[in-house]
């Protein structure tokens, strides 16, 4: 039986996670879920972000389902570095998987793109780059202040995520991988990424490849998102590009993500891309679809591909039948998805 750690978190986190759990229970009866109280509320109450004992407990689960953590009242970085990134790094979740589809029924912002035409997945590196926390400050608060941030990239780290991207591409219809970087400016990291990409590509003659600079990719995601199949890129570029991909496919209310440790040495973590949205928290109006799709990624990762497919089909049905202008209720959406997915 799957043991899931649930970190509902702050703001709308608990609301959307409740619906994701409804759906999980409907398709995989007997899931054992343990709740962990982490996030802004706990930090305010206790000053703790992620005690080592909790980290150790989390490590004993098959997967983590996370709602959203964060609140404007917490200084920037405290929860991001101390909790979210801490988990991604401690559990070596090097594949940050972010699929984007323009679902039929969803009004996208682009005039020329029709529902069903966009179906891409960004494989964002999750454990290196500028997220390593390798920065410093000298002469703070003086005119001589200097602040640095260092992007750290290893052959080890780049190769494993590039391999993952190619493996995913071979399981998809179009079999295409786009590498995104900024090789013309970041010549050291760019060269490492390019050479590694080319080496892995040579082992996959059946996969089409292309390279784009990050600025060009940001533009093409707006003008021609249909062109992408699998995109592989570094941690920071992936952060930015996945928000653009979400924007052109109906918004982050629908965007799911998985922070995956493919080997299963550590638990993988699944979370909607949206944040805690304190402005609408507690009103029961948040869209749980991103959390539910994240649960589908969780099911897939744990080997329950059939259950995952049923959840995805339920979401497709839900979105295709939404009536524009009718406000949604979080719990009602969850009920419909659970009953549809249960079949």
């Amino acid at each position: 039986m799957a043991r899931i750690a649930v970190v509902a978190g702050d703001g709308i986190g608990p609301e959307v996670v409740a619906e994701a759990r409804k759906v999980l229970d409907a398709v995989l009866p007997g899931v054992r879920a343990t709740e962990y109280d982490l996030g802004a509320a706990r930090w305010h109450r206790t000053g703790e972000v992620l005690p080592d004992s909790v980290l150790a407990e989390l490590a004993g689960h098959d997967a983590i389902l996370l709602g959203a953590v964060g609140d404007p009242s917490v200084p920037p970085g405290v929860l991001e570095r101390g909790l979210l990134l801490k988990l991604r790094f401690a559990f070596d979740q090097y594949v940050n998987l972010r699929p984007s589809r323009l679902w039929p029924g969803v009004p996208g912002p682009l005039a020329s793109v029709k529902p069903g035409e966009v179906d891409l997945v960004v494989v964002r590196e999750g454990t290196e780059g500028l997220y390593a926390g390798a920065g410093g400050t000298l002469h703070r608060d003086t005119p001589a202040e200097v602040a640095t941030e260092e992007s750290l990239n290893t052959r080890h780290g780049v190769e494993r995520v590039v391999r993952d991207a190619f493996a995913r591409a071979t399981r998809r219809e179009r079999r295409k991988v786009t590498l995104v970087h900024k090789t013309n400016v970041l010549t050291h990291a760019g060269s490492l990424w390019s050479r590694t990409f080319e080496a892995v590509a040579a082992e996959h003659p059946d996969v089409a490849t292309e390279y784009q600079h990050v600025d060009a990719a940001a533009m093409f995601l707006v003008t021609q998102p249909q062109r992408y199949d699998v995109v592989v890129t570094d941690n920071l570029f992936g952060d930015i590009l996945t928000d653009i991909a979400a924007a052109v496919t109906g918004g982050i209310g629908l965007a799911a993500s998985g922070c995956i440790n493919p080997e299963g040495t550590y638990p993988s973590m699944f979370e909607p891309v949206h944040g805690s949205a304190p402005d609408i928290a507690g009103q029961g109006v948040a869209d749980p679809v991103a959390a539910v799709l994240s649960a589908a990624l969780l099911l897939d990762q744990l080997g329950h591909a059939d259950a995952a497919a049923r959840v995805t089909a339920a979401v497709a049905h839900e979105l295709a039948n939404r009536v524009p202008g009718v406000p949604l209720r979080t719990a009602e959406v969850g009920d419909r998805l659970a009953s549809h997915a249960a079949g």
Copy 2:
């Protein structure tokens, strides 16, 4: 009389620069232009990118008008680092100015945004950050390879560009500045940018301010570009965001930029955001509007605000009267713009 150095460059560079010069001559008779042969062609012919003697000559001009440099046949970084970035850094062009307007008559990709609604300017830092070239590689081509890129940020460098952004905002109608960074992950550089931004903001109580993470800004540029007035951000974020801003306002065919040394210690440089587009070079079909708008920024910088306004008005007229589906001819567009701007 203004002394302009012209670097037409590669691909469509010479074609679009020719039209920008037509327009310049029309509104400011007597401009003294000197052509410099730099770019991929020269590198292939001589192995030289930017000889010191040429750099010294360029320094003696009032401004530089650049078409586009680059070609797929040149290894990544050679011309970017050796020419374009070399000029930006050597001439301390710390304000990389990139206005974006959705001109009436231009079909944008966004269904919900109407022409005239978007009018923003990104003030991108031009001399620091990840563009400093502070990277390294160890154990190249071995499994132990590590590659780094360092973002260098100084109070000096951040403050001057933030001040420029506020100064620009006070001259605009909405008087709003948005700082974009990633303070929750890049905590050192993010803190320097935030603290500096707040200090300068305190001196400008008449300017509204907001902060956004770069991923959120990338999303909002797609879903709600109308919300922005002046955006100030670092070198790399500015690179990415300005391509998104260009995409949502009709494409980089229309996007102008100025690499500005506000003090005038060194010449400022004006260039279309688009590249050399080798696929359409030599056919006379490239849109010269981005180059012409860059020339308008040049005129403005040299104190010829009236001439700049006439060029901008000519572009507005041209774009409002374009008939969809009718292919454009570079030289004809330039002729129309020159005659309209001459009045």
